[in-house]
Symmetry: C2
Subunit: 411 residues, 2 copies
């Protein structure tokens, strides 16, 4: 059995730790979480790692480290969205364990130890927060989030305590920077780019920054029969010109992505001219300056469109998250390993947020993307092949070896 | 007091026959309807008309007619939408009564008698139908509608019976074509055209035909971060190009009006590419052929836009109502009367449906529009001035005299 086939088998087995039988539903601090950790423990022990649960619920598998070297962390998350797939998150843990297993006899010569991490909660579907594990490690966890409650009124603190965690110790989970060499994460791409390029893996250059604006266009309603076209102040027509323009401009803006994912119309009747339209605008880019310039240009153009249409516009930024630039030396380590394996080297940004986003506050990070079928994730039919995962494990092994030959300094 | 001032006073008084104190709420077969008919009866009697309620609930005020001449009908509706205004519908009844009053001593020389009609229900807000009165007169009333029920489960038949109507006689309300010379109706414009032209009244050329289509655009959803712009099949972007194009094309299409009054997006999340958009398209035009050509062109262009965007489109026609062309000789009678009164002659189509739409199945029809403030209707602040109504009454008087000198043949 190849490492890829072992990963496929393990992922099929752990997928049964799920509330639903179709797809995987595994929320943090649940009995399914506990079942999953028992299986991950066997993966870690099989790799010669010693296993412990930290005070933020992260399962940590540490290689023997008698000389107290800094640790190269390899992680991802164990949880899934409701009716999600068997790969998002958990695949990174499985691949990390198998890479550590393959490298167990070389570690004495490495300038770092290895540690595989299985974070409790990246998806943020049970509590209105996420990334508890990496934030605790990075010292950026707001202790207030422990008081957040799920739909059943259970606080995260109580859920963690019932899981066996001493939540008083959670804030002290923080790692000292000198003890950490870096963080790497393998994850399914969740997009169509690898499939389009017919490649099994890609290095990752950055995790896109995100801005969200709520845009409101105000015109004037009127009877759809009695108001001539010329005198109209139709908020939907103005919004339509803006939405089409955003798509056109983003299409010319390189790696930037801009999306209007929803739109609502008032009064919203078949025979009434729309008086008000609201829509969210989301912009993502690996370059924060490019993202902010795009936002400013988009809103300026939208103002001009509204002025010409006799409408008013207001926009408020509802969310912002800066981009994370992957550590160039670590990304080069991945690229070199990809090339050494005979695969064409492709390096792309991540449009989605990952545990690596929060780990970047602690140490240099980089990622490896594995092709997923049809670019699909968060669905029961999410799928990465054993062959592609096998390439991914080989690349992780190669990248770790490359890093051992010349690891960039930690921050 | 001018006739316009009398109309203003009467409309202020009858506005108290309302469920709501802000604006007018007067549904058919209600106690407010009964109160209104009592007042309209005094208006009719003041004009020398003899009053009766027909079996469709239309209050009919007939001039003396010993020689059995055909009747020129003058009407509109007594009902209002919830929290509507004091002019929509009822103003036409008030102006008709005052025109009849002014002409009472000339009628012996006319080739027609006069009959003022106050229809029960044009707005269709109590029962899911409307135009019961004119349809009964025209013989186009489907008796099944009497079994329709309002929100309280009361059938129209029972509501009419409690109002004192013999509903067995409703189908026989049909007028023989030879007994009717034509139908004219004064109504507030419900649009901004007269205000824009700074004119108190306009003749009406036609009542626009209406088509409604439900349009569905199907693309493909995906993660707003991970799917590059180039590979997207964004249903909202395609819909936006279509909506903007509809507005552009309608703006070049003369008297045609095209409106997308609502739009819904699925899945409708800030970070999900829209997979499906549905919207209603409404097209109105005084020329049915122009309307149908516009629809065909619009749907062909929309198909091209969707093909280029990798989306599918389907459209189904949900409603159609042909245009009613106002009788040219009757409209000329209005135009001549407007010019004789020293007002610039403007003739425009009606974008809204009126009692005249249904009366057109019985006899030649035409209409007169009165300016309303800000083009507003169906709202408490709906308003037509006494001065404008006075011009309207003069024009009605003049038009009826013009018709008396050479009335076009009935159909």
């Amino acid at each position: 059995m190849t490492y890829g086939e072992i990963a496929a088998t393990r992922l099929r087995d752990i997928a049964t730790a799920s509330v639903t039988t179709e797809g995987v539903t595994r929320l943090p601090w649940s009995s399914e979480h506990r079942t999953a950790l028992a299986q991950i423990t066997t993966w870690m022990e099989d790799a010669g790692l010693s296993v412990s649960l930290d005070a933020a619920g992260t399962l940590c598998g540490k290689s023997p480290n008698p000389t107290g070297k800094p640790a190269l962390l390899i992680g991802s998350h164990q949880d899934s969205v409701p009716s999600g797939g068997a790969f998002d998150g958990i695949m990174g843990v499985a691949l990390g364990c198998l890479a550590a297993k393959a490298l167990r006899d070389e570690l004495d010569d490495f300038p770092f130890a290895l540690e595989v991490l299985a974070f409790a909660d990246e998806e943020g579907v049970r509590f209105p927060t996420a990334l508890v594990g990496p934030r605790a490690l990075a010292g950026t966890l707001d202790p207030m989030v422990l008081d957040m409650r799920d739909r059943d009124g259970v606080s995260m603190r109580d859920a963690m305590a019932r899981f066996g965690i001493d939540t008083d110790a959670t804030p002290a989970t923080h790692r000292a920077p000198g003890t950490v060499a870096g963080y790497i994460e393998a994850h399914i791409e969740q997009g169509p780019v690898l499939e389009k390029h017919d490649l099994p893996v890609a290095a990752v250059s950055a995790i896109c920054g995100i801005s969200r604006h709520e845009v409101r266009i105000t015109g004037e309603t009127g009877h759809a029969g009695t108001v001539p076209m010329a005198g109209r102040r139709d908020a939907l027509v103005a919004a339509a010109r803006i939405v089409a323009g955003i798509s056109d401009a983003a299409g010319r803006a390189g790696e930037l992505r801009a999306t209007v994912g929803d739109l609502s119309v008032r009064p919203g009747a078949v025979n009434a001219i729309p008086a008000e339209v609201t829509f969210p605008l989301e912009v993502r880019a690996p370059d924060d300056a490019a993202r902010m310039a795009f936002e400013a240009e988009t809103l300026a153009k939208a103002s001009n469109i509204c002025a010409a249409a006799g409408c008013r516009i207001s926009a408020s930024r509802t969310y912002v998250q800066p981009a994370v630039i992957c550590d160039p030396a670590m990304t080069r380590a991945f690229e070199r390993a990809i090339g050494e394996g005979g695969t064409k080297v492709l390096t792309i940004p991540s449009g989605a947020t990952h545990d690596a986003s929060a780990m970047a506050d602690l140490c240099p990070v980089s990622m490896l993307f594995i092709r997923c079928r049809d670019g699909v994730s968060h669905r029961p039919d999410e799928f990465a092949s054993a062959a592609d995962m096998d390439v991914g494990i080989s690349v992780m092994i190669g990248a770790i070896r490359n890093l051992a030959q010349g690891l960039p300094k930690g921050r």
